[in-house]
């Protein structure tokens, strides 16, 4: 099919991060052999704007780990893009906040692990919570709209009311309560992160009530835990339809997790090709574009242009074939794989000692951390 115009670019400018969250969606074997330079990113930003992109999210890793972040924000503003910084807040001192504001930064999404300092630091694997509180104050003082992003999992889901209260206290405009989706490090840690059904039902009630109560004050987004759904999420609003991601080394991806979840798909790099060609012509962007690639039950399903067959990465991770129907779907012949995960859940293993903490990419092939236990290793799935 003809390529539509994209709306948003996720710029993962580095995989380096001071946090070690066990639910990180970054690839577990991320390569770090040469991040794009400032000039290369500037070119990518201009090419994205020419393609139709209206909005850019600077993400990572921790985007503040790149000293040239204000230059990249300025380049994006000059290309008339709405700029959004997705950050842990670590490294956001007064100078950098000022530089980002002066560069024209439009909005900040600040991640929090919990409202509770001890629990938050335990999840992050480092002392981060107090820095985040101070980062939130700096964003507000700079007059920039603030969103709080909470990733929800078994260990923190019962604190939803307190998390929402924190968003109110910090005068956030938005709060995203996103149940962890199982890719990257989260996939490795799924057995300890997946909430129970009772927790999920309760959380949904709390989020729905809070959304009504705080309408016009804090906008609340609750992202469902898709394993508990009977129909799949409309992942990316369709493959290669609205979104593209450029990772730290310049690979262009339909979604951030595609490179690790779908090892048999080859992704093109901005150092070798123009972004326009990659978006329109490349095999990776066209493989699952539209509806022609769909197998049954998707092909004849009236929902096929509503959920787009769900998530390609999830199909690859859980069924071994990215072209299968997302197994979350009750109509999928592979739904039993998801049900088995839900019924084998062991609610008592949710402590730090059960987690495999995220580590930063290493230039060599060695990626094992001290936090990786032999038991965890045995459960790991090799991925490319």
């Amino acid at each position: 099919m003809t390529a539509p115009r994209p709306y948003a670019l996720l710029a993962e400018i580095t995989y380096r991060c001071p946090l070690h969250c066990p639910y990180c969606s970054n690839p577990t074997q991320a390569r770090d052999n040469g991040e794009l330079s400032t000039d290369e990113w500037t070119r990518v930003i201009r090419e994205a704007a020419a393609l139709g992109v209206l909005q850019i999210g600077f993400s990572g890793g921790e985007p503040l780990a790149r000293r040239d972040l204000p230059d990249l924000v300025r380049a994006a503003r000059e290309a008339n893009l709405y700029t959004n910084l997705i950050t842990s807040g670590i490294g956001l001192d007064d100078d950098r906040m000022g530089a980002l504001r002066d560069a024209g930064l439009d909005s900040v999404q600040l991640s929090f692990q919990s409202d509770n300092s001890d629990l938050a630091d335990e999840i992050a694997g480092t002392r981060a919570h107090q820095h985040k509180l101070s980062a939130a104050a700096k964003v507000r003082a700079a007059g920039i709209p603030l969103s709080l992003n909470f990733v929800i999992h078994r260990r923190n889901i019962d604190r939803l009311p307190e998390m929402i209260e924190l968003a109110e206290t910090l005068h956030a405009e938005r709060v995203e309560l996103a149940n962890v989706q199982f890719y990257g490090w989260a996939f490795l840690n799924r057995a300890t992160l997946l909430p129970t059904r009772q927790q999920v039902i309760r959380a949904r009630e709390i989020a729905t009530a809070a959304k009504a109560r705080l309408a016009g004050k804090v906008d609340i987004f609750y992202v469902l835990p898709d394993y508990y759904e009977s129909r799949p999420k409309p992942c990316l609003a369709g493959w290669g339809q609205r979104y593209l991601t450029v990772n730290p080394i310049g690979d262009v991806l339909p979604c951030p997790t595609a490179s690790s979840a779908i090892p048999d798909l080859r992704f093109e790099n901005v150092r070798a090709h123009a972004l326009d060609w990659i978006w329109r012509e490349s095999e990776s962007f066209n493989r699952f574009r539209g509806t022609e690639w769909m197998p049954e039950p998707c092909q004849s399903c009236p929902q096929r242009e509503i959920d787009f067959g769900g998530c390609r990465c999830q199909a690859a991770l859980l069924t071994g074939n990215a072209a299968n129907t997302d197994p979350v779907c009750e109509l999928s012949p592979n739904r039993a794989a998801v049900d088995a995960i839900l019924s084998n859940l062991n609610p008592s293993s949710d402590q730090a000692s059960d987690w495999i903490y995220r580590i930063n990419p290493k230039p060599s092939s060695l990626f094992l951390s001290r936090a990786t236990t032999p038991k965890a290793l045995a459960e790991q799935r090799p991925s490319g």
Binding site: A8, Q109, P145, D219
Partner: protein, 75 residues
């Protein structure tokens, strides 16, 4: 709010979202520059030469919807 160069339509951008504005919404938002809601209604009524009462509900509902989404702020 800016113009989408691909479509020449007005769009309102916010974190992780784009709202394509119809002409009515765009006209209303253009007037969100410190005027009160009734001033906006009066201004639009004058511009389009219609009775302000005809416009009032549309304007109020549009603004209320945008405020619910935290895209505008009443001060």
């Amino acid at each position: 709010m800016q113009t989408d160069s691909k479509t020449d339509k007005s769009v309102l951008l916010f974190p992780e979202g784009v709202l394509e504005l119809n002409e009515t919404a765009q006209e209303i938002l253009t007037h969100c520059d410190g005027q009160t809601v009734s001033e906006i209604i009066q201004a639009l009524a004058k511009e389009y030469d219609v009775d302000p009462k005809m416009l009032a509900t549309d304007v109020q509902e549009t603004l209320a919807d945008l405020q619910r989404r935290k895209l505008i702020q009443f001060t």
